[in-house]
Amino acid sequence: MNQIDAWKQENIGSDEFIINMGPQHPSTHGVLYLELKLNGEIVLDCRPHIGYLHRSCEKIAENRSYTQFIPFTDRLDYLASMNNNLGYCLAVEKLCNVQVSDRAQYVRTIIAELNRIASHLISIGTFAQDLGAYATPLFYAFRDREKVVELYEEVCGARLTYNYMRIGGVSQDLPPNAEKIIKDFITYERKKLVEYNELLTYNAIFLARTKKIGPLSKELAVNYSITGPNLRATGFKWDLRKDEPYMIYDKFQFDVPVGTIGDSWDRFKVRLDEITESLKIVEQAIGGVPEGTAVSKINKIYKAPAGTETYLRTENPRGELGFYLMSDGGTGPYRLKIRSPSFSNIAILPELIRGLNMSDAVCVLGSIDIVMGEIDR
């Protein structure tokens, strides 16, 4: 503390006070209520309150059949619905021993990776918006995401909640022009990524706002069960697609981008780099889609022997999404537990923003990239 700061502390004192940030606040990304204890502009403590979006998906699942629950997974992390669909379908397939055709595996990989790109784009856009880069980066991100969404509209008819994956495959095969659309998108997006780097990543104002804000150590991240880009930003090289490959991810060449100190900038950069890697995966996958059918048989009842349980996790854009399923021999789950990545990621927020400025707290919250839909479930 220099002399001026010491003088300020002595002469310009302020009382501690509590302010409510949210539940309706533009930078809380949904209905998140933070109870902040402030001294002047310094955050002394924070108490997150969640549950405003609690729809009790786990209870609903107990009264549905396995197939009927797929649309509900769309509404968990609504920015990455395809990945949720995929995680749930993989879990049910593991529980009920359902085989998936090669073509369906490829189609699923392409679709899921494109959704990862779309989700990271939103994360980048809204993060820049939180930092005060009003509207422009957000519109750029949404413009690029629109291309993915339009493809999805063509593939399954929906723009946000897709309900595309089925147990044993997908609901309909890729349309004939999909290959061209996806290849065009890859070329387009690669050019745009350069622009994002110019506009945001190495922008002096952006660096000043994000560098060394809310750093996170590897040990603490593992202890808090932080997953996904937030974990990789700390320098911990861990990606389920690489380290415990599911589906056909072991067939593709891609890197796992990592950060160094896990600050807000690292979290942002890891996401941006992951878009590049996802594009690589999509490019390899679209070139190797085998012939055959990707569509699963419809109207089939799936059953597992009573007492069988399974836990399966997949790498979602926001971290590891886990599904615990237990069967009692019926046509639906006896118990379904959704381990959502954002739920664990947001729990570290008080630890990260303690001692920061109020405006930097918003920066940290934006960089963690939460989706309330899957926190409250």
């Binding site: 969640i50 381990r339 739920f343 729990a347």
Partner: protein, 156 residues
């Protein structure tokens, strides 16, 4: 690493701790959960990550608390279970060992009514604090209408 190997390790360190071995889970007696968890985290097994905590209602008058622990060193996911009575289910909190357990245990308490002893913040997390039901228990009777007490304002 195999589950058998791991249960043998637990048995060597705590001869009385294991209640039952299931196909892909180990059931621990509730009084030895904390020492076993400490052993798994700090010992050679290195379960540094508490991936998930949840509950399960078995209908046969028993509840289960389930812990998914992950060891990055051995790349192994371990499922630990603790069987609890339906009346007054209580188990020691592991949030002192893994901070991720803090919120996950709160959620389990909220939905199943399993009390985690010595928990740093034993409040409900998703549902209103004033509520008294445990919605994910199988005997939960869904009322047609809810009437919650008025919100009291900020507390503490």
């Amino acid at each position: 690493m195999e589950l058998k190997e791991l249960s043998q390790k637990i048995r060597d360190a705590f001869p009385e701790a294991i209640q039952e071995e299931q196909a892909n889970a180990i059931v621990i007696k509730k009084e030895s959960l904390l020492p076993v968890a400490k052993f798994l985290k700090e010992g050679e097994t290195q379960f540094t990550n508490c991936h998930c905590v949840s509950g399960l209602d078995r209908k046969d008058k028993q509840l289960e608390a389930i812990y998914w622990l992950y060891s990055f060193k051995h790349r192994f996911m371990l499922t630990l279970k603790v069987i609890l009575p339906r009346e007054n289910p209580e188990v020691e909190s592991v949030s002192g060992l893994w901070k991720s357990a803090n919120w996950l245990e709160r959620e389990t308490f909220d939905l199943f009514g399993i009390t985690f002893l010595h928990h740093p913040d034993p409040r409900r997390i998703l549902n209103p604090d004033e509520w008294t039901d445990w919605p994910l228990r199988k005997d939960f009777d869904r009322p047609d209408f809810y009437r919650l007490p008025p919100v009291q304002g900020l507390k503490g």
